[in-house]
């Protein structure tokens, strides 16, 4: 399961970054970004599924690295105190922070093992006392809360939920895949040539309904020219192109 792999092996760029650095310890000074990317792609393939989260997070990391690299090639920026700013500082800071928590997580894991050695006891109230289990005091439990506060809390929740919906993405319309069949278009253009013999390229394009139809029509024209079916002339730059059928000439 791809999801399981994500859980057990890696979950993200900082982890991945450290791992890849670790793997390349041998020739540490010449790890090109290309290699990192290559290895990353291998992991993606291992996961087999297109986990967009991981992919996009990696892109953010890669972009950050390239950004820092670019800034290092430019003249150094100077901060308010007149000190040169090291573009790497931020990345070092991030790596350091992550490393510390990673280290701590191993410390924690070691402690967890010891905690297993202790056993506890289930609550066991003798029968004679059970009756004394204190009832819940609803007065103190509810406290100052009242229905209109509950209403306010719920409205607040609805509002936050609304915030979580990405209004930009949810406004996107559907992108319809437009199918323009090359063969059909070729047939159409050939008929057009046969009927018109000599015609304006611009006029032909005006008959097309969409950008992709125009593109395909243009491709068909190029193809026909290559096959020697038509001839084209243009009198001046940006002027109209006149297309002439060569079929009459041949026949």
């Amino acid at each position: 399961m791809a999801l399981e792999v994500k859980l057990q092996v890696f979950e993200g760029p900082l982890d991945l970054l450290l791992h890849l650095i670790d793997k390349n310890k041998v020739d540490i000074y010449d790890i090109p970004i290309v290699t990192i990317t290559q290895q990353y792609m291998d992991y993606i393939r291992q996961m087999q599924h297109d986990d967009m989260d991981v992919t996009s997070e990696f892109l953010v990391m890669a972009a950050t690295l390239i950004d820092i690299k670019c800034r290092m090639l430019l003249p150094k920026e100077v901060n308010e105190d007149g000190e040169e700013e090291d573009p790497r500082a931020e990345l070092v800071e991030k790596l350091l922070e992550y490393k510390m928590y990673k280290y701590m997580s191993y410390e924690l894991r070691d402690r967890q093992v010891n905690a297993d050695l202790y056993f506890y006891r289930e609550k066991n109230i003798p029968e004679e006392i059970e009756g004394y289990e204190a009832p819940i005091d609803y007065g103190t439990l509810i406290g100052e809360n009242n229905l209109s506060m509950l209403n306010g809390i719920f409205q607040g929740l609805l509002r936050r939920q609304e915030d979580r919906v990405d209004p930009v993405r949810s406004k996107f319309g559907k992108i319809e895949k437009e199918e323009v069949d090359m063969d059909l278009k070729t047939e159409y253009v050939r008929d057009y040539i046969k009927v018109h013999k000599r015609f304006s390229f611009r006029q032909l394009l005006e008959k097309q309904h969409s950008k992709s139809e125009i593109v395909v029509t243009f491709l068909v024209i190029l193809e026909e020219m290559k096959l020697g079916e038509i001839e084209i002339e243009q009198q001046e730059t940006f002027g109209d192109i006149v297309i002439t059928s060569r079929r009459d000439v041949n026949e």
């Binding site: 004679e128 004394y132 005091d137 406290g143 229905l147 209109s148 719920f154």
Partner: protein, 189 residues
């Protein structure tokens, strides 16, 4: 294993098990003779007879069990009547408001609205008697449906659910527009 060590091991086992444990089972766990185990139990009894002990040993036929000493009952009654101070935390209030307005509602729906696992919160509310299971939803997995109880109505001083302040449709629309506006601003960098 000396007497003291044996007594300690038996104490640990009886403490963990709660129920009574047969002497031969104890002997097996300790890798001891039954007669030695019996001797160690005697040691335990003597230890528990001292003034600093709150627990005692209960001997049954071929088995033993730990219990609190009778003299301690008054303290147990005291602790039972000084319950933990229960308050409705933010998490509980949020969960309660969702259940009140959306009932009957599944835990999954509560979690979808809150954006976080709400097992604990729902369970606490059920423990408090403010929320109860209403049945199961006729959907895959047959998830439990939750709703508020009569105690909820009583505690909040309302006679019926109709008295819940209604949600202002205008307000909901406003939230939506604000959220959209904020997103536009963010993109306008």
């Amino acid at each position: 294993m000396n007497r003291e060590e044996g007594a300690a091991a038996i104490e640990a086992i009886l403490f963990t098990m709660g129920e009574s444990v047969e002497t031969d089972r104890l002997a097996k766990a300790l890798g001891e003779e039954i007669k030695d185990v019996k001797d160690q139990i005697v040691y335990l009894k003597e230890k528990y007879a001292k003034a600093d002990s709150g627990i005692g040993i209960l001997e049954l036929e071929n088995a033993v069990q730990l219990c609190t000493r009778k003299e301690m009952y008054e303290y147990l009654i005291q602790i039972a009547s000084t319950p933990k101070r229960n308050v409705l935390t933010d998490a509980l209030l949020e969960t309660l408001s969702i259940i009140a307005y959306k009932q009957p509602v599944t835990k999954l729906e509560v979690e979808r609205i809150r954006g976080v696992n709400s097992d604990h919160a729902v369970n606490r509310l059920v423990e408090f008697g403010l929320v109860t299971e209403l049945g199961r939803m006729d959907a895959p997995g047959r998830p439990l449906l939750f709703g508020t109880t009569e105690e909820f109505l009583r505690s909040f001083g309302v006679r019926s659910l109709e008295e819940l302040p209604s949600l202002d449709a205008v307000k909901v629309e406003e939230f939506k527009q604000e959220a959209e506006h904020e997103a536009d601003v963010k993109l306008d960098i």
